[in-house]
Every structure is written in structure tokens, then in C-alpha cells.
Symmetry: C2
Subunit: 202 residues, 2 copies
């Protein structure tokens, strides 16, 4: 019945290995996409053999699903901005600029999904997860008419900025002054998430 005896119990070692594979896979998928990342490379970076992926995650597809689920559990855009702030639009703008700042490997679920867009399997998995994020966004931050469409457009903006800044590294966006970007993004976001702002356009 005792579950530990040696300094590193077998179960603990298994958990550590599983976590190492997950972390390695997250990085690999973010950098090379679903098709571009190989199981041998992922396993090697985790210090094990490729077959351990099969053991712990069933298949590459299963591994990817778990990675994406993991990275989207706490949508980065919603967690960074403080939802309680009065100037919600600016909070979102600051959060978006912050998480897309260069220098760190972008491990966000959105970007991992985008880099994997070549794979049909990966796209299907990403589709489900993003639909969940959309639901959360729509109910958490947006009221008024066409809330669903506006939440989706907000996510589209977030996705586009992430992609241009971190993936394609379009220079004026990647190297822009953060403050300038926040100032430019705030009214854009406001016209999407603030009820009434977009109603009188005709």
C-alpha cells in the first residue's frame, strides 16, 4: 500500500516525464507547428525516447490536443487584462501588447494553432478550443447586440496582432513602441466590445 520508497518513486518519475514531454511538445509545436515538429525531437528534448509519447499520450494527435487544451485553459488575453477595470478596452489593449512582446518564444495556444494550420488534424483540434475561448470572451466581456459576432471579431483582431507581431514579425508592429500600440488599439477594441459604440454607423 505504501506508495513511496525510493527518493524518486516510480510514479513521481512518470509524472515528471509526462510533464517534460508536454513542455517540450509545447515549445516544439509553437516553433515548428504540428507537422514540422517530430516526435523524436520532442522526446529527445524531454530526455526520453519517441515511444514514450505513445505511452503517455496515445499518439501525436493526442499529444497535440493536450498541449492545445493546456495552453488555452486560461486564455492569455483574458487573463492578462483585468476584467474589473473601468477602462476595459485599454486593459485589453495593454494585455495584448504585453503578451505579444518579443523576446520570448510565443507559447500561446492561438499561435501554436496558427503555426499548425497546415495540418487538418491540428486545425480541427484548434477549432474546438478556440470556440470555447470565444464563448468565454463573449460572456465575460461583451454585452449588447451581436455580442457573439463582436466577440469573434475581437478574437480575430487578437489573433491577427499576435500573428503579425510574433509569427510574421511585421516590422512596424514587432518593433513598435508599446505605448503607441496601446493608444492605437484601445479605440479599435472599444468599438468592438463596448455596447453601443458600433451601433450608429449606417
Amino acid at each position: 500500500m505504501k506508495s513511496e520508497s525510493s527518493p524518486t518513486s516510480r510514479a513521481a518519475k512518470a509524472d515528471a516525464t509526462r510533464a517534460a514531454i508536454l513542455a517540450s511538445a509545447r515549445k516544439a509545436f509553437a516553433e515548428h507547428g504540428y507537422d514540422g515538429a517530430g516526435l523524436r525531437g520532442i522526446a529527445e528534448a524531454a530526455g526520453v525516447t519517441a515511444m514514450m509519447v505513445g505511452r503517455y499520450f496515445g499518439s501525436k494527435e493526442g499529444l497535440f490536443g493536450e498541449v492545445v487544451t493546456d495552453t488555452m485553459r486560461d486564455p492569455i488575453i483574458l487573463s492578462q487584462g483585468n476584467l474589473d477595470r473601468a477602462d476595459l478596452s485599454r486593459a485589453f489593449a495593454e494585455g495584448l501588447v504585453k503578451v505579444t512582446t518579443q523576446g520570448q518564444t510565443p507559447l500561446d495556444g492561438f499561435l501554436i494553432s496558427f503555426r499548425s494550420a497546415g495540418s487538418e488534424t491540428a486545425t480541427r483540434i484548434a477549432r474546438e478550443r478556440i470556440a470555447q475561448v470565444h464563448q468565454a470572451t463573449a460572456t465575460a466581456a461583451i454585452a449588447g447586440d451581436h455580442a457573439s459576432e463582436r466577440a469573434a471579431l475581437f478574437l480575430a483582431l487578437v489573433a491577427g496582432v499576435q500573428m503579425m507581431r510574433q509569427m510574421l514579425e511585421l516590422e512596424p508592429l514587432a518593433k513598435a513602441e508599446p505605448g503607441v500600440l496601446v493608444d492605437l488599439l484601445t479605440p479599435v477594441i472599444a468599438s468592438l466590445i463596448e455596447p453601443g459604440a458600433a451601433d450608429r454607423t449606417q
Copy 2:
């Protein structure tokens, strides 16, 4: 010196084959991305052997570069909206909604690039082309302070909408009423491309 003798001259046949490969590749890259599309499949769809790609384009990389260059020569978002219209923002919104309407395989260079984001080669090629589109956008449609950043954000919005509507097919965007989307997008675009609209936000 005579250059034609048979009904289908050799040179004409070569041009036709080259064009067929290019069209087939464009479709394949748009559907499966750079890594996902195989030369054998591309060639077969063009009615020739895989080796013809090497003959006409040097390599898969060369083929992809030519496809992307071809699709971005006339940026779809700039060509659809009438740049002379007084309500430029609405024109852009209508153009964006129109080109991202479902039912047709999205052959736009942006989407081809996004689907190929897993490949480093493809990303590098796409980066150059998008930088050119950015230049064209900034000079053609945007004036005022931070024109370059605003043009980039505009492209980010376009990219995000394309991705969400056509690639991930996020339901509320993919199935939204076109008129509703145009109404929602118009003020968003306006706050990016109309000088002065985004200046007084602090």
C-alpha cells in the same frame, strides 16, 4: 527562326504546363499548407510528373515563392474596395467580408501564408511579401500620425478575420450575416485608417 509549326507548339505547351503547375500548387498550398502539400500531388493535379516542378521552378521552395508572389501581386483587400470611395472604411469592410465569404477555396496569399506558417521557409517568403503589401497599404490608404503602425494593425485585422472566417471557421464569424459584419467592421476600420480618429484616446 520560325517559332511555330504544329497546332500546339512546344513552347506553348511548356507555358501551359508551367501555368497548370502554378495553379495546382496555389490550390494545394492554400488547402494543405507548404509542408502538407506534396509535389507529387501538385504535379498529378496538373497532369504531369513531380519532376516537372523541379524543371520549371527549381525546387518546392522556388515554386512556393512564385505562388505567393503571384497571389500577392494584387493584394486582394486593396483591389476589392474602391479606394476612391468617400466612405473608405466601409468600402474596405465590404471588400473584406466579400473576399472571406465561404464556399470558395481561399486562394489569397495571406491565407496561403498562414496555412504554411509551420514551415520556416514558407514563413520567410511570406514575411517579405507581406511587408510589401504593408507598404502599399500604408501609402495608398492611410495618412496621419503613426501611419505605418496603423497600416500594420489594419493588416492584422484583415489577417485575423480571414483566418477566423476561412481557416478556423469560427462559427459566429463564418456564418454571420454579411451586412452585420460590414456594420461592425466599418467603425473598427475607421478608427485605424482615418487620421485623427484614434488620436484622442488618452
